[in-house]
Symmetry: C2
Subunit: 254 residues, 2 copies
């Protein structure tokens, strides 16, 4: 492990990167996951590496949606398991939701390594790895169509952080309400999900847990109102503007 | 190797990615190189995955600078060797320049793999790997400070594609004229180099070879004029605007 001085201007970003590289070395993360992290880094840099107003609004809508869900499920891939396993387990406990491992580049060893990591971080049960418990979502080509009959298949709300566009579409077609974390406000996932949190998941998952805790005392009517007032497309345009404004500002300093 | 259908909307980008992943499997590319490729993909996506006017202007200035150079050297790292070895060799022949391997995350095996790839692609000589031929550039911490006495150390113009900011600064301090390829117009490398080609190197290195060929008949005076007329900072601002405009356009379609 390299030592990154706290004074480094990009120390936080480098620490996140280090977690992911460790996850790769420990068999959690695929090569493609390293590339995806790089794409995320670029967008996070452009967003100013902070949780903006639009992201905060999406987090509140997501919290309301999760509190109203009858059977929420959190889908976990290798990058999420490497970046924030403890936080994901915390979220699942807060919302009384299940955790399911679901990989784009499937591989039994990697799946088992992810399950182990999640359990080490406090998960009592992890779906998606038991033989005989799987079924298929229609409209999706990759290994990700295989889902757990007791998990995503029967969920009403699915949290899919760091997702691919095809799967988000398939989940929507299957009638699920989809909440995603995606740093690119223009990606197909961002545009297809019901609620898109355009933020670095390592920053915003804690904020989501916090909001779920705060809102747990709200009545149903007020939660429905939060969701009704939320406009995902409009919110995404605001994130695009955040990037545009950042580019202008940085360009003036440079 | 996966098969990517030509009809895929992002086929070109995926083919480039595949080259890099193969380079990783063959020991040319570091893990950090996969992350860097991801960052590049994001910026290329935002630039519209095409060579813009600003990039074309930088390519012309770079060609003029290389034709005027007394001793140009092209610095090659793992990503470049994986992405476009043949094109880099072609450029070195066109400008009668040397090729030197120089790695941020140094590793003897990786260096040898890169040298082998370059030679297989037609390079007659590759500097940077012989014991007893190395010396140090001051003002730089990483392994990249080690340069070849007969190469970068004595070069007047250095081409550094996919570079890090510290090294570009060190090369400038050492009095070199630096030409770089960088997809992020705001990066330290972009801002520090004399001529920054904000484009995907796999697209623009061919264009650079072409321009060098075309301009080889120009007289010195006209080449000097091209360089004098080129304003790198202004050109970089234009690339930032290209990204801004693309964001606006995509945001309207979405």
């Amino acid at each position: 492990m390299q030592i990154i001085p706290k004074s480094h201007p990009r120390a936080k970003s480098l620490l996140i990167r280090e977690k992911l590289v460790n996850g790769f070395d420990n068999g959690l993360v695929a090569k493609e996951g390293l590339l995806a992290q790089g794409r995320g880094e670029a967008f996070d840099y452009l967003l100013g590496e902070k949780t903006g107003k639009a992201a905060m609004r999406a987090i509140k809508a997501a919290a309301a949606q999760l509190l109203l869900a009858e059977m929420p499920v959190i889908s976990v891939n290798g990058n999420i398991a490497a970046l924030c396993p403890k936080q994901i387990v915390k979220l699942s406990k807060q919302i009384k939701g299940k955790i399911e491992v679901n990989l784009f580049y499937t591989n039994e060893n990697r799946k088992q390594a992810i399950v182990k990591t999640l359990k080490k971080n406090g998960a009592s049960e992890v779906l998606g790895s038991k033989i005989g418990s799987s079924t298929k979502l229609s409209g999706i080509d990759s290994a990700r169509r295989i889902v757990d009959k007791n998990g995503i298949f029967v969920a009403d709300v699915v949290v899919v952080p760091l997702e691919d566009g095809d799967r988000t579409t398939a989940l929507r077609k299957a009638g699920k309400t989809v909440i995603t974390f995606d740093l690119n406000p223009l990606s197909r996932t961002s545009q297809t999900a019901n609620i898109t949190i355009v933020d670095n998941v390592t920053r915003s998952v804690d904020l989501l847990v916090e909001e779920c805790k705060k809102m747990s005392k709200n009545n149903k009517k007020s939660l429905y109102k939060i969701i009704a007032d939320f406009d995902n497309k409009k919110n995404l345009r605001e994130s695009v503007n955040q990037i545009r404004d950042n580019l202008t500002r940085r360009s003036k300093i440079a």
